[in-house]
Symmetry: C2
Subunit: 450 residues, 2 copies
């Protein structure tokens, strides 16, 4: 795109009656995990570097407009409301009403489509031909939600040759995410004179002229939210997207993540807890781990069990800061920096707590030598991973040893150790595993030498 | 340079009588800190990505040729010997003898010039005009070694207008490092028909035609090694270049580095010790620190003093691995990876050793809680620095706190503590400083948020 900034046009003029039958609020303002559909669309584009928006308003537009002004200030974006009095003639007229504002390329999106923000960057990166518009197309026909209602496309050699609902022999589904050029407006006007005010009408004219390219959305997720069922599916989709398949450890994936995403979903939608910033959640996780460390120093089985439960709870909540940040588009470098340092201090406290508690009944310095070695193992396991990225320019490959020295597993082992009344034993075992793991990773670095 | 590989032509055909009056070996094979002048020139170019060499041999060429074959194999380079039987007519004839081998651009260097390898990359990056050769020029007229014998240049608007020894009103010194194009050969032939077989003769013709550009070598060091005095100066220059002004801590700069560069110079030139690889030196440093940790666990003042001396010695030797690597062009990612992990394990051992020794006479878990906190502080000080690079894409700015949490200072403090019979006190103080420093750096990350 020659580095030029691309604006985004978002169509939010329609009625959307199937979703909002209660008439409680206009469809673009229907909330999905704390953010309204329109706000989510805008922020997803912002993730891809878009900072100029034209939002077309029609049905109940006067209710939506104040929000645009608020988001413009709050998110430091340029958001221009564009009124379309002809919105009932079709969404093509809504796109047309932005014609005076646009110079060359622009994104065209529907306010009620949920999508992986990576899809926008992908679409922009894949744009090649100056003389065509591009449409993100989903080739996974069998897996598309609400297939009957979807707009289908036929694709020949990268060009869309047919577009419409109920198309026989479809090759993909229209995701409603376009990268357009100004000549779209000519096509829309032509369709309208033929009595078709829809966006699809204009697109059909472009397709016939060979001016509509298909860009595969690949494995990225998206969803057209038209019904209450789709809204629930959108919620599931967002929660599923919070995991980090390439980073999460074994315990995190099987145990922590399923719990933490539910906690995060609760936190962002709750009127009081939604005020917690991701960094505040990092701090809560740290305080849980500190409390656990304190309880480990006490006598008695139940104190140890309570300590074990708190440490695992701290480990679960440690996932929530990032999840809440991603759900509400508040991820930041400082947040990650804060989280990782607090985690290391939490590890330090827990190791000292467990060793202190064990040293009440087992004197002699060897108890502490073991504790210190475990501490060194825990901290250096994290250190080694960072150092590897710095030295070799990429994270460690996902091997068994990498999974064994992750924090989720070591805290879970301490939790189990506490349940069995043997937290110090669990500490020493995990310390050993950490040092062995570091040795293995060291060796891997050695082999990469040649 | 459009990504094409540039070959290097190195002139090694002359007599160099002023340097090798003893006639012991040909000038290109005179050693400078373990590597011969010619080998050092080749490896300096390799640092800049050059892997194809043409070495012009003349005087005693038959003694030099076997080394070229050896280096070709050992360093995985292409090194072609080019014989010049007319070498006594001037070094221009030596350059001319490479004409059949060269297609477009090539570097042209003297075998007896020592230079910062960064100068080559700089010259290549600065090349702009297709229609000119470029010469690296040193503008620091007052600081050039052996000024009387240097070739001077006059520069007007980036073009060299005059070149020669004893030039009045010179603007810079010819460093003998050229980036040439084939039309140089025409100029050399023309000079030769006029009875001038020198390279300067050809360059003068280029200069008159406006085809010789000057590229400033800026602050990079270089040296023309013509005399035994210059050879000694070259040794000093190389040793000075081993420090890392932007990374070395206070103790490292004032105390460790001046000692370690002398040790490194000894190691690389000693017939036995020169076989030590940089990684073996890292291991020696680690073993010194481990021995120190063991001595700290023993009773008696002199054991503690010995431990203190060993830890400081380990800290000094910790600088030698990198120095030897840089002196002999053996730096590697694995070497740095190896060194940093061993340093962290050395820190762990010393903290445990000191705390163990102190716990012999002071019972109670608080001694070990203090030791564990110091351990955490030492390891996390290093961790925080790595994490900062990862999160913010650049190292921490060089503040007082960054200097206070460096390894050179903490090991020096432990050394001083040991001399005063108070290593545990020194440990606790340095642990405190480390945690404070981390807190400060954390805060710096916070401010960078906005």
């Amino acid at each position: 795109m020659n580095g030029e900034k691309i604006p985004a046009v978002i169509l939010a003029a329609g009625k959307g009656e199937r979703l909002t039958s209660d008439g409680d609020r206009p469809k673009p303002l229907v909330p999905l995990l704390s953010l309204s559909l329109l706000e989510r669309t805008i922020l997803s584009c912002r993730e891809a570097g878009i900072d100029e928006f034209f939002v077309v308003l029609g049905h109940r537009g006067e209710e939506i407009e104040p929000y645009l002004a608020r988001w413009e200030r709050h998110y430091h974006l340029s958001i221009t409301p564009v009124k379309n009095t002809n919105w009932e003639e079709g969404n093509g007229t809504s796109a047309l009403s932005c014609a005076p504002y646009l110079k060359t390329s622009f994104l065209l999106l529907m306010c009620d489509h949920l999508f992986d923000p990576g899809a926008i960057s992908h679409l922009i990166a894949e744009e090649k031909a100056e003389g065509a518009c591009s449409l993100l197309v989903d080739r996974r026909l069998e897996r598309v939600f609400d297939r009957e209602d979807a707009t289908c496309v036929r694709v020949t050699e990268g060009r869309i040759t047919a577009i419409g609902k109920g198309l026989s022999e479809a090759d993909g589904i229209d995701t409603g995410i376009f990268l357009c050029r100004r000549f779209l407006f000519g096509a829309l006007r032509e369709a309208r004179t033929q009595g078709d005010g829809s966006l699809s009408g204009g697109m059909r004219i472009l397709a016939r002229a060979g001016k509509l390219r298909a860009v595969d959305i690949e494995e990225r997720s998206w969803l057209d939210i038209d019904t209450p069922q789709a809204l629930r599916e959108g919620r599931r989709l967002l929660m599923r997207s919070l995991g980090k398949p390439n980073e999460d450890g074994i315990v995190s994936r099987l145990f922590n993540r399923p719990i933490s995403v539910r906690i995060s979903a609760f936190l962002v939608t709750h009127p009081v807890f939604s005020r917690l910033t991701p960094n505040a959640i990092s701090l809560v996780s740290f305080l849980l781990v500190l409390s656990s460390a304190y309880l480990f120093t006490l006598e008695g089985y139940w104190a140890i069990v309570a300590a074990g439960v708190l440490i695992e709870l701290g480990s679960v909540v440690d996932g929530c800061d990032g999840e809440v940040a991603r759900l509400t588009f508040r991820t930041s470098r400082f947040g990650a920096w804060c989280d990782t340092l607090l985690d290391r201090y939490g590890d330090t406290a827990v190791v000292i707590g467990i060793t202190y508690g064990f040293s009440r009944f087992h004197t002699g310095p060897l108890v502490w030598v073991g504790g210190s070695l475990a501490l060194s193992g825990f901290l250096l396991a994290s250190y080694t991973k960072k150092e590897h990225v710095l030295r070799y320019g990429k994270p460690l490959s996902r091997s068994l040893w990498v999974l064994l020295i992750k924090r989720d597993l070591r805290l879970f082992a301490l939790f189990l150790g506490a349940l069995f009344g043997r937290p110090y034993l669990a500490l020493i075992v995990m310390g050993f595993i950490s040092h062995f793991g570091i040795g293995f990773l060291f060796w891997e670095g050695r082999e990469r030498r040649n």
